[in-house]
Symmetry: C2
Subunit: 220 residues, 2 copies
Amino acid sequence: MSDIDSAEEVVLDPEREAATKAQVFAAAERLFALNGFQNVSVRDITAEAGVNLASVNYHFGSKDALLYEIFRRRTAEMNRERARMLHQAADRHGGKPPVRDILEALFAPPLRWSNPAHERRISVQFIIRARSEGTEAMKETLRTDVSHLKRFADALIAALPHLPREDIYWRLHFALGMLHNNRFAEFDRLHVLSDGATREADVDGLLRRMIDFAEAGFLA
Amino acid sequence: MSDIDSAEEVVLDPEREAATKAQVFAAAERLFALNGFQNVSVRDITAEAGVNLASVNYHFGSKDALLYEIFRRRTAEMNRERARMLHQAADRHGGKPPVRDILEALFAPPLRWSNPAHERRISVQFIIRARSEGTEAMKETLRTDVSHLKRFADALIAALPHLPREDIYWRLHFALGMLHNNRFAEFDRLHVLSDGATREADVDGLLRRMIDFAEAGFLA
DNA sequence: TCCATTCTCAAACAACCGTTCGAGAGCCCC
DNA sequence: GGGGCTCTCGAACGGTTGTTTGAGAATGGA
């Protein structure tokens, strides 16, 4: 093939085979995060990615399998980052971090990644959507794969030895509720409610507010 | 038409005209609450209600209009009950109820209605779903119609005069997050996490736990 | 009794969905 | 240079979706 032809139309380079799959993955994550799972068709994804319609089924098997692969990869990354911060907090405090540091390890990764300037902003939106709109397979995973949450529950039990375990689990549930409710629509409501007095959410300020509230709840 | 024929097949009584609309409404609410908004077709609804397929469009205009009417009626009922409890709390405390009573007025109606024995259990599930899976029209309503929340914000401002209003709004946002996260799937996760040690949720115990946690957060 | 209104019903419509198929292009290795 | 493998592409398939249509039954008032 001559140079002239290759200049007119993109030819397949060695990376292209993997490139198509990666482009489908990225386009799907972006569209799902923005418009919801049910409102995005396979045709939307392939059009956005600039690839053929059959690519989704060829590379991922099915639309649901593609959704699940995005979900699994992104939640794994999030859990890894949380575990890393919890581990660092344990190192700082001789293996027994206080409630405040545990909550920071739980809240900070999703909040920091939600920053408009952060590249993983889309991934956080995707994960949030998966919690409510996800396939039954996703919800089943969220329901039964709690090993990563167990680390946080154990750390809280060590930090609050006087508190019954049942209380710890419930309060962890409440803290996660505070976090998962942070959608964009809810921020708008807050803005309307305060007649515009509430600033646009800077994530570090929000993180501090959430930790303050949840810490008091755990120490009650 | 003879008596024999009318015994074989149900004839139209005077109430029947309204009955069809009510049956569609009830069947739609039940199916949407159980299976999600996108996973229920008009055919599912009319089959469950035992009416003709065209009934939905005839009585409600469209599927989305039916959804929105259920949403509007149920949220209005919920808001009314919350306002009633807040009003009662104000009467008990000379017009200035403490944080604890305000939180109870906010949490108790949806929690009590979630009780398996309560007839409005389905309605609560529907409302919860509307918050995440709802039409854009529903979310717009949730976003802009905050008049009912303003009553609670004002009561909290009166109860916590030393706290900046911006903090009040944020902490109200957190408290609502705790509440809205109470889905059935999340309860399952809690159960798995605690190795079955956590009892089945009795709503009064859960209500007390939530108020304890949120009250401490507000008083922090 | 007759007309107008309201409602039900079976059938069809057009659009969109996820998935599959067969042909063919490009590539590597023998 | 030829066979095998991977991947892309346009086209089509079967199914489901929300909505519309036109005819007919039942009802209430004149």
